[in-house]
C-alpha cells in the first residue's frame, strides 16, 4: 500500500477547487460583478464632489469587498457537504485543518485575487491618486484573505442549518470589523498581523466546526 502524502493531498485539494471554480465560472464572475457594481453605485448616488469621493473611496471599496467575499462564503463547504465529499475529507489520514487551508488558498486565488486586481480600476471612479490606489490595492491584497479565513469559520459553523446565509452574515460581519477598520484606514502593519493570526488559527477552527457540523 502507498503511504499517504500531505503534499499530494494538498496539491489535489487546490487543483480540485480551481477546476471546480473554472467549470462553474458563473459563481466566480457573479461575485466579481457584485463587487464592481456595489462600488460603482457610490459615485453615482453621491455628491460628485471629488474631495468627498476621494475621502470615502477606501472605505467603500473595503465594505464592498467584505460583502462580496460574504457571497462566496456560503458556497465554500455547502456543495461538498451535500454530496459527501466533506465526509471523505474528514476521514482522510491527513489533518483536516490542512485540507481546509488548501480549500481556502484556492478560494482566495479564484475569488479574492480578482477583487484585488480589479480594485485599481475602481479607484479611478473615485479620482484616487496613484499613491492612494496603490495603498488601497496593497491593503486589500493582505486583507481579503483575512476576511475569507475569518468567514470560513462562520461558514463551517452554519453548515447544514436552514437559513444559514443570514446567520453566517450575523456571525462573520462583526468579526470582520477589525480587519475593516485597519484595512480601510490603511494601517498595513495591523492588517498583516490579523492576516498572520488568521492564517495560523482559522483553518483549525473551521476544521473543528466542520467535525461538529457533520456529526
Amino acid at each position: 500500500m502507498n503511504r499517504p502524502s500531505y503534499i499530494v493531498m494538498f496539491r489535489w485539494v487546490v487543483w480540485r477547487e480551481i477546476v471546480l471554480a473554472w467549470r462553474r465560472k458563473s459563481d466566480v464572475l457573479s461575485t466579481l460583478a457584485f463587487f464592481v457594481i456595489v462600488v460603482s453605485l457610490f459615485p453615482l448616488g453621491m455628491d460628485p464632489d471629488s474631495r468627498v469621493l476621494r475621502t470615502i473611496a477606501p472605505g467603500v471599496v473595503w465594505v464592498s469587498a467584505l460583502l462580496a467575499s460574504m457571497l462566496a462564503l456560503g458556497r465554500l463547504f455547502a456543495s461538498d457537504y451535500a454530496d459527501g465529499t466533506l465526509e471523505q475529507m474528514l476521514i482522510a489520514p491527513q489533518p483536516l485543518g490542512l485540507i481546509v487551508a488548501g480549500k481556502l488558498l484556492a478560494q482566495w486565488l479564484v475569488t479574492g485575487l480578482p477583487l484585488v486586481l480589479i480594485s485599481p480600476l475602481l479607484g479611478l471612479q473615485f479620482g484616487l491618486s496613484t499613491e492612494g490606489t496603490r495603498l488601497m490595492a496593497v491593503s486589500l491584497f493582505a486583507g481579503v484573505p483575512a476576511l475569507t479565513l475569518i468567514g470560513a469559520i462562520g461558514a463551517a459553523l452554519t453548515l447544514g442549518i436552514r437559513g444559514g446565509g443570514v446567520l453566517l452574515a450575523l456571525i462573520v460581519l462583526p468579526l470582520c470589523i477589525p480587519v475593516l477598520v485597519f484595512g480601510a484606514g490603511g494601517n498595513m502593519a495591523l492588517v498583516g498581523a490579523v492576516l498572520a493570526l488568521t492564517v495560523v488559527f482559522a483553518p483549525w477552527a473551521a476544521a473543528s466546526a466542520l467535525r461538529v457540523a457533520v456529526e
Binding site: R16, D80, T85, E215
Partner: protein, 205 residues
Amino acid sequence: MLETSNLECVRGNRTIFRDVSFAVRPGDCFRLTGPNGSGKTSLLRMLCGLLSPARGTICWKGAAIDTPDGEYFSVMTYIGHRHGVKDELTALENLRVSSGLHGIEISRESAAAALERMGLGGRENLPARFLSEGERRRVALARLRICRTSLWLLDEVMASLDRASMESVQLMLADHLAAGGMAIVATHQEMNFSNGRFQRIELAA
C-alpha cells in the same frame, strides 16, 4: 484487526442500539443488516470516526481509532450513500481527486484501468453529471481497486447497481478477503461467497 466493545448509539433522545460488540479479523466479511432506522449507517459512521459513540470503544490493532498518529485512517476506506462524486468533474478526475484527498497519487493510466474494470470503459472522460446513479456509484467504488486499503466500510453500495456490476463488486470483495482484507458491508441484498469467513451483524429495530 478491528474490535468494538459495547457500542451504544444515541441520536436525539432515542437510543438506536446498545451493546454492539464484534471483532473483525483479516479475511472476515461482516454483512450488516437490519430494518430501516436500526442504525446501520450510524454504526458505519462510528466505525470511520465521523460519529462518536455514546458509550463503548472502537480499537484498531489494540489502540483507539482516533489515537494521534494512528494508522487507522490510512488503512480504511469508507464509501457511504453520498459517495462524493462531483458532477463537474469527469469520472477519471473524480477517481484521481478522491484518491488524492487521501494523499495517494494515482496515474491517469491506472485510474483509467480501474474504471475500465468497473465497466466504465469509454466513459472515463465524461463529466459525472452525464452518468447514471449506478455509474456514479461505480466511479466511487473504483477507488477500492486502487487504494488497496485493508478495511472497507461500505454503506448500501449495491443500491442502484445492475446485476452485472453487483457481481463484479462481489468478486472484488472476494478477492479483497482472499488477500487478507476486511470488510463491513451494510446491505439488504443477499451476498454469497465461496471463500472468506462470512458473518452477519443484525441490528434490531
